[in-house]
Assembly symmetry: none
Homo-oligomer: 131 residues x 4
């Protein structure tokens, strides 16, 4: 796997794991239906606790990113990731709010901010070949 964790970060490990896997999906390293390692093997691989992997997987399942079959194991959701709904967009807005608030204080212009976002979007497109 391509998982890269920072054990010194304030961000909990399970959250980092979730982010990394979502990033894998965004970059199409992980496609719908693709298998993910079992809780046990991923934990062993990265050298973290079973609970931690499990917590990340449960959250990803909850959010519609993965399916956990008793037997087939863990797979990226075969139907694709659920499209953004109103709830997602409102949560997204809530998360963006403090970032934009502080940026305004620090004299980051709207143009700069949008360009930064745009740049991040393009990084995904490049990796997926969707340019």
């Amino acid at each position: 796997m391509f998982i890269n964790l920072d054990f010194e970060s304030k961000e909990p490990i399970y959250v980092q794991l979730i982010h990394q896997i979502i990033e894998g999906v965004a970059k199409k390293k992980l496609q719908p239906g693709d298998a993910l390692p079992s809780v046990r093997s991923l934990a062993a691989d990265i050298g973290i606790n079973l609970h931690t992997v499990n917590k990340a997987y449960q959250q990803l399942k909850q959010d519609g990113f993965i399916l956990i079959h008793r037997q087939k194991g863990v797979v990226v959701h075969p139907d694709g990731i659920p499209k953004a709904d109103k709830v997602y967009k409102s949560v997204l807005k809530e998360k963006l709010h403090p970032l934009i608030s502080e940026s305004v204080c620090r004299s980051v212009t709207e143009e700069e901010f949008l360009q930064l976002c745009s740049q991040l979007f393009h990084e995904f497109k490049e990796e997926t070949g969707d340019v």
Copy 2:
């Protein structure tokens, strides 16, 4: 004050406080040099512990938003908020990354995302009359 906390939220109270004060600065409800309530009075006002307020104030001081002045008490930094530097922008990028990553997965287009950001920027401009 205009502080509005959500005690049910997972976001720690001191973090919410920080966000609210930064928002106040962004919306120019708080201007450079303006006085902020003392640790004690704000704590009493909101009905939280003074240590919690103190933690928020210490962080804001660290980040250059406020000064804790021997005589004047706590004030919004009279020289204005430090402009975004490389460190800030790189942290900002790190925070935006997972948001954009998940948005890509959920088929939020770049245009939609930028528009959402733009809309948030305009909310600040409207409130400050900087339109």
Copy 3:
């Protein structure tokens, strides 16, 4: 641990703790990567409140002396302590200034003063075997 606090001193306990740990590093009793006791166990050991230990640890982390690691717990920074930069030297100068100022008033000669410093340096070298 080798921590030795003076509860009668005007110096806050958390500051004393910081000094003691830095001294431990200077004397190489604590080496990069070495584990430090947890907040709780150190507090219990010394017989002080865990918040006091925590305050010291947070400061030491801030200053690059220690890492608070998700898995390993608290350790002396494995990459070694950050070398003195301009900021450190200017702060050091500010701290030395009043000491030298008063010494000048009290007719301590430059030679005496330097010798005193030199002696203190040698105490560290002796303990570390770096003579």
Copy 4:
């Protein structure tokens, strides 16, 4: 007066005042027998509390820097400042200890440190013409 205070500093104002006056003596801007402003006038001059000036003066008197006559007012001690005794030197050593300790950690060499001290000494000599 040449007093220069930093109200944002963590250093209490009365301590800053003490340092400034001692510095004045070290630089011979203030000579034995010279008059100092009254508590009241100095406080008014700098714009600080009477108590604060008084506290600084009491400490300076205690340390042998000044005399406080009921009628003649405040003067730099006419007999000159008491020479450093064992107590002073031991306190000085205690204050230098953590500075050197941290410097050792941060790879400041003995030579660099001594040179910094030397430089500070020379700043006093230059100002007094004692070069």
